[in-house]
C-alpha cells in the first residue's frame, strides 16, 4: 500500500465529525511525528489558526513534533510501575530513545512500554512481550456481578460471543418500547457515574432527553488516565459490545444519533478492538441506520486522545473532541445542556455505559440488589501495587476494603503488612491505619477524608517510603495540570518541590513553615481550583501529613542539611 499523500489524509477526515484528533493522528502515524508542513496542512484544511494548532498539539504528551517521535518507546513510570522497576527499565532503554510516560493503565501487569501502536509489557528490556490485557479472575467472593458477569466467557468480545449471553437483547427490547422506560429502569437501579463523580445516570439521561435543542450526542469517556485505574480497559478489551450497546441505549433514551468514544492514547489495542466491534455491530444492524428494523439510527466514532490526563475531565474532553485547547470548561452550564458543540450531551464513563444493558434487560431492582445494605449495585475496583493478586474486581458497593485486600486479593506479598492504599487512583490520597476499615462506598470513604472515585486502589506495603510515593503522585498532578487555573498550575508545582527529597529543594527549611505552606496551598487548591484535578491533588499531602507526620518531619529535616 502506498504512503497516503497529505491531500488523501485531509480528504479522509475533513468531513468527519470531530476531525482534528484523527487527522493529526493520521499525519502522526504516517510520519512518526507532526512536522511543520503537517501542521500547516491541518491548519488550512480545518481552517484553524496555525498558532492555536501549534499550541494545542504541544499540550498532548504523545504528539511528537520531531523524529524519532512515535517510534521511540515510552516507558511507564507511574506510581506502581516505579515500585516494580519502571525507572530502571526506562534507563535500560534510553539507548533506544525511550522516554517516560505517566501511568499507562497496565498496573495489573507492569511495566507497559508503548511504541507506536504496540504495547509490550515486562520487567526487563529483553523480556518484553505483547499480551492481551488480563481478564479478571472469577469473583473471589462468589458474588453476583453486573459488568463482569459474562466477560470471562470465550469469544465474548465478538458479536456472536456477546449475543450468546443476551447481548443486544436489551437494545432490541428497548426499541420496542419507549425511551422513558429505559430511563426509568436506570433511575430504579440507582446507577451513578462510575467514572468517580457519582452523578445519577438516570437523572442525567432524563435531563438530556428533556432538552429541546439538538442534535444531541453521547460521549463515552474512555480516557482512563487516573493512575492505578485499568478497569475500563478490561471492559473494552473483553466486552466491547456491552459499551456499544450501552451507548446505543443512551442514544435511544435521549434522542441522540451520534456517539463518540474518547479513548486514551495508551490503549492502541483497545482502539482496534473497538473499531472491529463497531464494524461487526453495524454489519449486524445493531448500529448504523434503521437499527433492529426501526427508525432509530445511531453511529459511534472512536476518537483517540494523545496523552493528557485532563482530557478525562468532561469539559476538557469535550474541548479536545471539538479541536479546541483542552482546558476544562466553567460549569454551569453543564454538558447535559451545553456539551459537544454546545449542544445537549450525555458524557458517561465506560463502566457506567457497560452497566446499562444488563440493567435494562433485568430491571433496576436487580441491579440495586447487588449492593450490600442500602447501597445500590456494584463497582469495579482496579487493584495494584504490593498485593498478591492484582487485577480488576467487581465488588458489591459497601464491601469492606479489608475483605477485598486480604480475602479476595491475598494481602501484601511476602508476608509483609499493608501500610497504606490510595483511593480513586491517586485522587483520593492515601488511607492508612484504622481508616483501612472503610467499606467501599462513597459515604464511608468520604468519612475518612478521601473518595472512592473511579475505583483505582494502589497498595503500599510497610517497606515503602510514603513521602517518595506522595512525591511521585504530586509529580504526576503537576505534569498533568492543564495550566488554566492559578491554584492548580502553581500549587501542584510547589507541592512537588516541597516533596522532593534532594537537599536544598525549594521550600522552607523549618517544619512549621513547611507545613503552613503545604496546608495553605492545599486549602486554596481544594476551594478554588477550576476542576477536580486541582481539588483532588492536595488530598495526597493532606493524608501524608495525617498519617505520617513524623516521616514528614524527617523529610523536611533531611532537606535542610
Amino acid at each position: 500500500m502506498s504512503t497516503p499523500t497529505n491531500a488523501e489524509l485531509v480528504a479522509r477526515w475533513k468531513a468527519e465529525p470531530a476531525p482534528l484528533l484523527p487527522l493529526l493522528h493520521a499525519f502522526h502515524d504516517r510520519d512518526g511525528h507532526l512536522s511543520d508542513e503537517a501542521l500547516r496542512e491541518v491548519s488550512a484544511a480545518l481552517r484553524m489558526p496555525l498558532a492555536d494548532l501549534f499550541g494545542t498539539v504541544s499540550f498532548y504528551h504523545h504528539f511528537a513534533r520531531f523524529p524519532p517521535g512515535a517510534s521511540a518507546p515510552r516507558v511507564c513510570t507511574g506510581p506502581v510501575c516505579r515500585l516494580l522497576g519502571g525507572e530502571e527499565l526506562l534507563d535500560a532503554m534510553r539507548k533506544h530513545g525511550a522516554t517516560p510516560m505517566a501511568c499507562a493503565g497496565r498496573c495489573d501487569e507492569p511495566v507497559p512500554v508503548l511504541t507506536a501502536h504496540d504495547v509490550h509489557v515486562g520487567l526487563a528490556a529483553d523480556a518484553l512481550e505483547r499480551r492481551p490485557s488480563p481478564l479478571p479472575v472469577p469473583n473471589p467472593g462468589g458474588l453476583p456481578e453486573c459488568v463482569f458477569e459474562s466477560i470471562r466467557e470465550p469469544g465474548r468480545a465478538t458479536l456472536d460471543g456477546y449475543r450468546r449471553s443476551g447481548g443486544y437483547e436489551a437494545l432490541s427490547a428497548a426499541l420496542g418500547g419507549s425511551p422513558d422506560a429505559v430511563i426509568d429502569a436506570l433511575k430504579d437501579s440507582g446507577l451513578a457515574g462510575r467514572g468517580g463523580a457519582g452523578f445519577p445516570t438516570g437523572v442525567k439521561w432524563r435531563a438530556v432527553a428533556d432538552e429541546t435543542r439538538g442534535p444531541k450526542t453521547i460521549v463515552c469517556n474512555a480516557d482512563e488516565g487516573e493512575p492505578g485505574c485499568f478497569k475500563d480497559r478490561v471492559l473494552m478489551d473483553h466486552d466491547p459490545h456491552a459499551v456499544l450497546e450501552g451507548m446505543a441505549l443512551a442514544g435511544f433514551a435521549t434522542g441522540a444519533a451520534t456517539g463518540f468514544i474518547y479513548l486514551r492514547y495508551e490503549y492502541p489495542e483497545t482502539h482496534a478492538i473497538l473499531e472491529r466491534a463497531i464494524a461487526e455491530a453495524e454489519a449486524a444492524g445493531m448500529l448504523g441506520d434503521a437499527i433492529g428494523g426501526t427508525t432509530f439510527a445511531f453511529r459511534i466514532h472512536v476518537r483517540r486522545g494523545a496523552g493528557a490526563y485532563i482530557c478525562g475531565e468532561e469539559g476538557s474532553l469535550l474541548n479536545s473532541l471539538e479541536g479546541k485547547h483542552p482546558f476544562p470548561r466553567e460549569r454551569p452550564p453543564f454538558p447535559v445542556s451545553h456539551g459537544y458543540d454546545d449542544l445537549p450531551t450525555v458524557v458517561n464513563n465506560v463502566e457506567t455505559l457497560a452497566s446499562v444493558p444488563p440493567i435494562v434487560r433485568r430491571g433496576g431492582d436487580w441491579y440495586r440488589g447487588l449492593g450490600l445494605g442500602d447501597h445500590a449495585g456494584t463497582k469495579l475496583i482496579s487493584l495494584s501495587g504490593d498485593i498478591e493478586r492484582p487485577g480488576n474486581y467487581e465488588v458489591p458497593i459497601g464491601l469492606p476494603l479489608r475483605t477485598l485486600l486480604h480475602d479476595w486479593a491475598g494481602g501484601a506479598p511476602g508476608g509483609r503488612l499493608i501500610q497504606a492504599v490510595t483511593m480513586a487512583g491517586i485522587s483520593g490520597g492515601f488511607l492508612a491505619g484504622d481508616d483501612l476499615e472503610v467499606t467501599l462506598d462513597e459515604p464511608s470513604v468520604r468519612a475518612a477524608h478521601s473518595m472512592l472515585g473511579a475505583g483505582g486502589i494502589m497498595v503500599f506495603d510497610d517497606t515503602r517510603d510514603m513521602v517518595a510515593v506522595a512525591h511521585s503522585c504530586m509529580e504526576f498532578f503537576a505534569h498533568e495540570s492543564c495550566g488554566k487555573c492559578f491554584p492548580c498550575r502553581i500549587g501542584t508545582q510547589r507541592l512537588t518541590e516541597r516533596l522532593a527529597t534532594a537537599a536544598g529543594a525549594a521550600g522552607p527549611a523549618q517544619l512549621g513553615d513547611w507545613r503552613a505552606e503545604v496546608e495553605d496551598i492545599g486549602a486554596v487548591m481544594k476551594a478554588t481550583s477550576a476542576c477536580g484535578l486541582g481539588m483532588a491533588a492536595p488530598l495526597v499531602t493532606e493524608s501524608l501529613l495525617r498519617y505520617w507526620p513524623e516521616r514528614v518531619a524527617a523529610h523536611v529535616a533531611s532537606r535542610a542539611t
Binding site: 499550541g55 487555573c485 498550575r489 476551594a527 481539588m535
Partner: protein, 362 residues
C-alpha cells in the same frame, strides 16, 4: 415568564444587601457595580469569561466551593458573599503563589495600561511575603527584537489575556498557549518572532497584560526621561473611526499612546498606527509652518494667508487653462466627516466637477 418581567424583578443578595441585576450580568459585574472590591487578574471586561486566576471567587449559598464570579451568571435569589476571612485568605495565598513565579512584581508603568494590576493587588493583600519560593515560570523571548512589543515572559502569570484579546477582540489569532501546567508558555506559531506570525502589532496584548510581561517598547524608551507621566485624553488622528486614546507625555514630549478603555468608538481597541505611529508628532522633518517656493527655486517659510492665496491661484490657473475637470480631489481618510463634506462641496460647488474621492476607498 417573559424576559422583560425578569429584568424588572431580578434580585439577589450581595453581602446582605438586596440588589437588582439584569439577566445578562455575571456575579462579578453585579458585585463591581455595587462597589465591591473583587480582585481579578485574568479578567478583562471586553473578553469572554475565563475563570483562570480564581481571585474573583465568591461564596454562593448552597454551593460547597466558592465560585468564580467572573464566569457565573447572576440568578434571582442567589445569596452571595464577596468577602470574608476564608475568601480573603484564599486570595492572599493565591497572590503569594503568583508572586513566587515571577522575577519581579514592580514594573515600569509605561509598560502598558494594565501593567500595575499585579503589583496593586500584591500590595492590597499584603502578598509580598516571599512565601512559596521555587522554580519560576515562563521564558522571555529575548531574540524578538521587533520595535513595538517586549516579550518578557519571565514576568508572565499565564492569565491568557493576551491570547484571548488577540483572538476575541482583534481576530488575529497570532498568540497561543504552548505546553501545559507550570510549563505553560505564551507563544506564536512555531515559537517564532512576532513579525513572522499573523501579529499585526496592534498592541492590544500589551495593554491588557497585568504584569508587564508584554510591554510597550516604544514607551519604555522614555523611562529615563525626567518628569512625571501625564495622561491626556484625545482622539486618534489616523482615521475616521475616532478611537479615544490617552497621550502619554513627559514634560513637553509625547512618549506613548494608550487606548481608552472607555472610548465610545473603540472601547480599548487600537490598531498599530494609533498605538505606535506617533513619532511624526515631534519628528525633526515635520513641517511646522507653510513653505512657498520662491523665485530662487527654494522653499521658504510663509504665512498661511500667503500660502493659501498661492494655492488658490494655482487651482484657478489650472481651471482656466484646462477646464473644470482638470481638478481632482482625494479627501483624507484621516479627516472627520465634516472635513470630507467640506472637500466635496469645495470641489463640486467650487469647480463644478464630480472629480472627488476618498482615500479610504483604496
Amino acid at each position: 415568564m417573559s424576559v422583560i418581567e425578569d429584568r424588572t424583578t431580578a434580585e439577589l443578595q450581595i453581602d446582605g444587601e438586596t440588589v437588582v441585576f439584569s439577566p445578562v450580568e455575571t456575579l462579578l459585574a453585579v458585585a463591581r457595580r455595587h462597589r465591591r472590591e473583587v480582585p481579578t487578574l485574568c479578567y478583562d471586561p471586553r473578553l469572554d469569561p475565563f475563570g483562570g486566576c480564581r481571585l474573583c471567587v465568591v461564596e454562593l449559598e448552597g454551593v460547597r466551593n466558592p465560585v468564580a464570579s467572573c464566569a457565573r451568571a447572576a440568578e434571582p435569589g442567589m445569596v452571595v458573599r464577596t468577602h470574608g476571612e476564608a475568601l480573603d485568605k484564599h486570595r492572599k495565598t493565591l497572590l503569594e503563589m503568583v508572586c513566587s513565579e515571577n522575577r519581579q512584581i514592580d514594573v515600569e508603568p509605561l509598560s502598558g495600561y494594565a501593567s500595575q494590576e499585579l503589583a496593586e493587588l500584591a500590595d492590597r493583600y499584603q502578598a509580598r511575603t516571599g512565601r512559596f519560593q521555587g522554580r519560576q515560570s515562563g521564558k522571555s523571548k529575548q531574540d524578538d527584537d521587533n520595535p513595538f512589543i517586549l516579550r518578557d515572559y519571565d514576568q508572565c502569570i499565564s492569565c491568557y489575556r493576551c491570547v484571548r484579546v488577540c483572538a476575541e477582540q482583534e481576530g488575529d489569532y497570532a498568540i497561543s498557549v504552548k505546553n501545559r501546567g507550570f510549563d505553560t508558555q505564551i507563544t506564536v506559531e512555531f515559537d517564532g518572532l512576532l513579525k513572522d506570525s499573523s501579529c499585526t502589532f496592534c498592541g492590544q496584548c500589551v495593554q491588557t497584560c497585568p504584569t508587564g510581561a508584554l510591554a510597550d517598547r516604544k514607551a519604555l524608551r522614555a523611562v529615563d526621561l525626567p518628569g512625571e507621566v501625564v495622561k491626556t485624553r484625545t482622539i486618534c488622528t489616523y482615521c475616521g473611526v475616532g478611537c479615544s486614546v490617552d497621550a502619554l507625555t513627559k514634560g513637553d514630549k509625547l512618549v506613548g499612546i494608550q487606548p481608552a478603555m472607555d472610548g465610545p468608538a473603540n472601547q480599548g481597541a487600537l490598531c498599530i498606527k494609533g498605538q505606535y505611529a506617533f513619532d511624526f508628532v515631534q519628528h525633526e522633518d515635520r513641517l511646522s509652518t507653510p513653505l512657498m517656493r520662491g523665485d530662487d527655486g527654494e522653499l521658504h517659510p510663509a504665512s498661511w494667508d500667503d500660502a493659501l492665496d498661492r494655492a488658490a491661484q494655482g487651482f484657478l490657473d489650472a481651471r482656466d487653462k484646462h477646464g473644470r475637470h482638470s481638478v481632482y480631489a482625494v479627501a483624507s481618510g484621516r479627516a472627520p466627516h465634516e472635513a470630507a463634506y467640506t472637500t466635496q462641496r469645495f470641489i463640486r460647488a467650487g469647480f463644478w466637477t464630480n472629480h472627488i474621492d476618498n482615500c479610504s476607498r483604496a
